[in-house]
Amino acid sequence: LYHVLLRTLSRKMASGFYKLMFIIGMVSLAHSGYSAAQHRRFIRITEQEYSSLPTDILVQSLVSLVLTVYGIVHISGDFKEIRATIQLENKTWESAGNRPSFYMFCHRGRNLSPNYSPPSSDGASYGHH
């Protein structure tokens, strides 16, 4: 089940899901920052003792950080295979030994085409001598 989920997620790569996660994480981080600033202002106005932020703001900022970084890690691009020989091992001879500039088209196969006209007898007797 984990592998099926991973495959469906990887298909949606940078186009939808991870961008959405990144945006949600950033918005949540900004929201937690604004609420922290508001809390500080409130504490300063009511002249209370400031010890630390309320727990839910801390939890929200941490969770949004993890969400944003998770989105970024998957948006930032794919990893490439670094071992050069593994890429070569999977190639078949058809693709590896294929040299298109060495194709030859001047051979006897032209005798099989319907437009073929055999050379005249004058040319044939010239070849005998």
Binding site: F79, R83, A96
Partner: protein
């Protein structure tokens, strides 16, 4: 002369392998695998691509964790501890992204942990002090 012929064929085959790999993946570099002792050829362009992806992730992680620690109001030593904790979390996320066959993408896993630390820490301090000033002082 036979020795010369052997050297020529060796160079030719090596050159053919190099040219094939040049067509395939840019430049390549030969390294000896320390565990099994055999030679492994790495593609330079792929290594550089993976390193740039990791650098991008690390810089953005430094900026975001600096913002978070500024918002949370962390002071001196707790802030630096949070930076190293965030680096560790990033290492875990990169390993999750690489998957089970991490050897396809990295030479060793420990280098992921400490690769971009110095530039990351400056970005972290920048965002940390800025957000701390914005949220707690303003």
């Amino acid at each position: 002369t036979t020795f010369y012929c052997c050297i020529c064929t060796c160079l030719l085959s090596h050159h053919l392998l190099v040219s094939k790999l040049n067509i395939m993946s840019g430049r390549m570099r030969m390294r000896v695998d320390k565990i099994s002792g055999e030679k492994i050829v790495y593609s330079d362009m792929a290594i550089r691509n993976n390193a740039s992806v990791i650098e991008y992730c690390r810089t953005s992680m430094a900026a975001l964790s600096g913002a978070t620690s500024g918002i949370m109001g962390l002071t001196s030593l707790y802030g630096f501890a949070f930076f190293f904790l965030a680096g560790f979390v990033l290492w875990l996320l990169l390993l999750v992204k690489a998957g089970r066959h991490w050897q396809q993408y990295f030479v060793n896993r420990k280098s992921l942990l400490t690769s971009g630390l110095t530039s990351g820490i400056f970005t972290y301090i920048l965002f940390w002090t800025f957000l701390y000033g914005m949220v707690h002082v303003y």
